[in-house]
């Protein structure tokens, strides 16, 4: 076989190898590609921003001597029992069904160890997760699979999910190979079917109805629980305004890089806007309502490092949520499974077939033998370690900017490396005072 690059062969930029493989796969099977993970295409992201450390005009804090606090209160607008988290990095909603019970437990253990929250997902709350999560956010989804008022009352907050970044406007899916008897029982479905979740809530349509739905949930929980509203990032400015008008205590905005357990590839890559573009829209909406920092903003979709955390907060987020990164911390895509990834046609760094339940790392599976590979205690330790590193990194950057609390980071601390990022994030292009679209 010849080496195409050495032979001077030219690959098409339009029909690259992934595109050719996709067309050939469609022609073979007659069905669209369903996969996990989030958008893989390159989009403007936090890497396109830089923080302006202190110098003559700003005063830095000593890295190992002066405090940089990290705590955050979520949901104190209307709820009598808001969440008080030690760090502003939360675990995003991921379902039991998409993940193994061991993985859910590990996420709860890790989050609890560092004083943050984790979140249920489509399919209800498991005892393992509730038992190991000091702060557990209960998702209220269109499918209402496993929706139980006792679980609602036992939750620490309620997240009404309107959409997610990987598929704004789309419902969930869980393919038959992951619908074990336990998953099927919790969802009241026949085992082994390809399960489709609804994309709209069954008993309300539009923001006026949502206002009444939020009232009902508050009444059921005696106005104790914070109520979040989660949207996939699209028309974020308007969606945030409507969510707040409907009574949300917290708004969660999930950008297009946010992960999924199973969605059509075409949906993941072609619907929604990047996280970077969504945050300023959300902050603008909150600021115009006079509620920025009063209705808290949680941002998710592609958070990987403490730098991402710091930059999201500088743009105006009160907290962030991680999903894909937490799975990687648990062992997803680890090189030690290279041989097993190869057997199922993948490789470390590329594995995204969360939908088919054959995850060698035992995370995105309901196969009991595979799931046993993940020790929830060890997994929890790894997640806690990772969350600590994110926090330390974010604190390092915040101190360099002279901030005694992560929430004190501000857009003025940021510049952009590209015109696109400057326009989306609404911060100046580095070395200039130019914010495209705002001043010319």
């Amino acid at each position: 076989m010849i080496d195409p690059t050495q032979a001077g062969l030219r690959e098409s930029a339009t029909f690259d190898r992934a595109t050719i493989a996709s067309i050939q796969r469609a022609a073979e099977t007659g069905v669209y590609d369903i996969r996990g993970w989030g958008a893989k295409r390159a989009v403007p992201h936090f890497d396109d921003l830089l923080l302006l450390g202190a110098s003559m005009s700003r005063y830095p804090l000593e890295g190992y001597r002066e405090r940089c606090d990290t705590d955050v209160v979520l949901g104190d607008r209307h709820a009598s029992n808001p969440l008080h988290l030690d760090i502003p990095i939360t675990i995003a909603g991921m379902s039991f069904g998409a993940l193994s019970a061991q993985a859910k437990e590990a996420l709860g253990r890790g989050a609890t160890e560092v004083g943050t929250s984790t979140t249920t997902g489509d399919g209800g709350m498991t005892p393992e997760e509730r038992g190991q999560s000091k702060n557990l956010v209960y998702q209220y989804l269109p499918s209402r699979y496993g929706m139980n008022p006792d679980d609602l009352r036992s939750a620490d907050a309620i997240e009404i999910v309107l959409g997610q970044g990987a598929k704004p406007g789309g419902g969930g899916m869980l393919l038959g190979q992951k619908i074990s008897d336990r998953v099927a029982g919790m969802r009241t479905l026949p085992a082994g079917i390809d399960q489709r979740s609804a994309c709209r809530h069954p008993d309300w349509t539009g923001p006026d109805d949502l206002t009444i739905k939020i009232l009902e949930l508050r009444e059921i929980t005696d106005w104790q629980k914070p109520i979040y509203v989660k949207v996939g990032a699209t028309r974020t400015y308007y969606d945030v305004k409507l969510a707040v008008a409907a009574g949300a205590d917290v708004v969660v905005v999930d950008g297009m890089q946010g992960g999924t357990a199973a969605t059509q590839e075409v949906f993941i890559e072609h619907v929604g806007i990047p996280t970077l573009a969504a945050i300023p829209q959300a902050v603008q909406a909150l600021a115009e309502l006079g509620l920025h920092r009063k209705v808290q903003l949680i941002v998710s979709g592609g958070i990987r490092t403490g730098a991402d955390v710091a930059k999201a907060m500088a743009l105006g987020a009160d907290a962030v949520a991680i999903g894909t990164a937490a799975l990687i911390a648990l062992g997803d895509n680890h090189p030690r499974y290279a041989d097993e990834y190869a057997k199922i046609g993948s490789a470390p760094g590329f594995y995204d077939d969360y939908q088919d339940g054959r995850d060698p790392a035992g995370i995105t599976t309901q196969d009991p033998d595979l799931a046993k590979r993940l020790d929830p205690v060890e997994g929890g330790r790894r997640v806690a370690n990772y969350l600590r590193v994110l926090t330390l990194e974010a604190q390092t950057l915040a101190r360099a900017c002279g901030k005694a609390h992560l929430r004190n980071l501000e857009p003025e601390d940021l510049v952009a490396l590209t015109i696109e990022a400057a326009a989306m994030a609404r911060v100046p292009l580095a070395g200039t005072s130019w914010i495209p679209g705002q001043n010319f």
Binding site: V31, R144, P149, D203, E219
Partner: protein, 238 residues
């Protein structure tokens, strides 16, 4: 409602408590019903208020005299609730157990996602009645609107009148019984044979609901189970 809460539980347990929503708020009413000091309640002058008697989890009797708004009796567990009037969207949504009886008509999404219990609507129900139902029994004395029993997973929906368009679209394992006409069936919903066991369960259900119809007058509908797995030839059905 302060006076209500001051009533000792031991003394009040068998008493009937009357609540007037012109002088008592829905918040005060629900707080009382979440920690009941009595076994029986009458609610007067609801005047279409939203979220009346939601999230109950004790075996109490609640009679609501007048029209109720959205989500009346939402997420009910164990309680028996009667509404002497019409109800708004989402009556008894996500009910787990107990019963809810509406002596009038119901708006959209009656009994949505409910897991258990019995919902009786003596009048008619609007669109999406029984949407995503997960085990509840729903008996409607009159008609149901379009897209009723959409994605219905489990339980039984009984319609003593007519059903609108798209009945049972994308239905899973719920069983539907209709006495009158069906405007059209949704994707993957088909008419099925009415066997003896179905006549028997329907007879029992009609009796529990207080309906006098003969079960043999009904037709049964359910899932053809053709959409349970993704397949290219089903693309027009999704």
């Amino acid at each position: 409602m302060v006076a209500l809460n001051e009533v000792g539980a031991e003394k009040a347990v068998e008493e009937l408590v009357k609540v007037d929503l012109t002088t008592t708020s829905v918040r005060e009413l629900n707080a009382e019903l979440h920690a009941p000091t009595a076994r029986r309640y009458e609610v007067h002058n609801p005047r279409g208020a939203e979220a009346i008697a939601v999230g109950l989890h004790d075996a109490v009797d609640v009679e609501i005299h007048g029209p109720a708004g959205y989500y009346c009796a939402g997420m009910n567990m164990h309680a028996d609730i009667v509404v002497h009037g019409n109800v708004g969207t989402g009556v008894a949504e996500n009910m787990m157990s107990g019963s809810v009886r509406v002596k009038g008509d119901a708006s959209q999404s009656a009994g949505a996602t409910a897991h258990g219990g019995l919902l009786v609507i003596e009048g008619s129900a609007s669109m999406r009645c029984g949407i995503s139902m997960k085990g509840v029994d729903i008996v409607v004395g009159g008609d149901v609107g379009p897209m009723s029993a959409f994605m219905a997973q489990a339980g039984r929906l009984v319609v003593c009148g007519d059903a609108g368009d798209g009945l049972g679209d994308s239905i899973y394992e719920a069983r539907l019984y209709v006495r009158g006409s069906v405007a059209s069936l949704g994707a993957d919903c088909v008419e099925k044979e009415m066997r003896d066991e179905h006549v028997a369960e329907l007879t029992e259900l009609l009796a529990r609901a207080g309906m006098s119809h003969d079960a043999s007058e009904f037709r049964r509908f359910g899932s053809a189970r053709q959409l349970y797995h993704f397949a290219a030839h089903n693309s027009a059905a999704y």
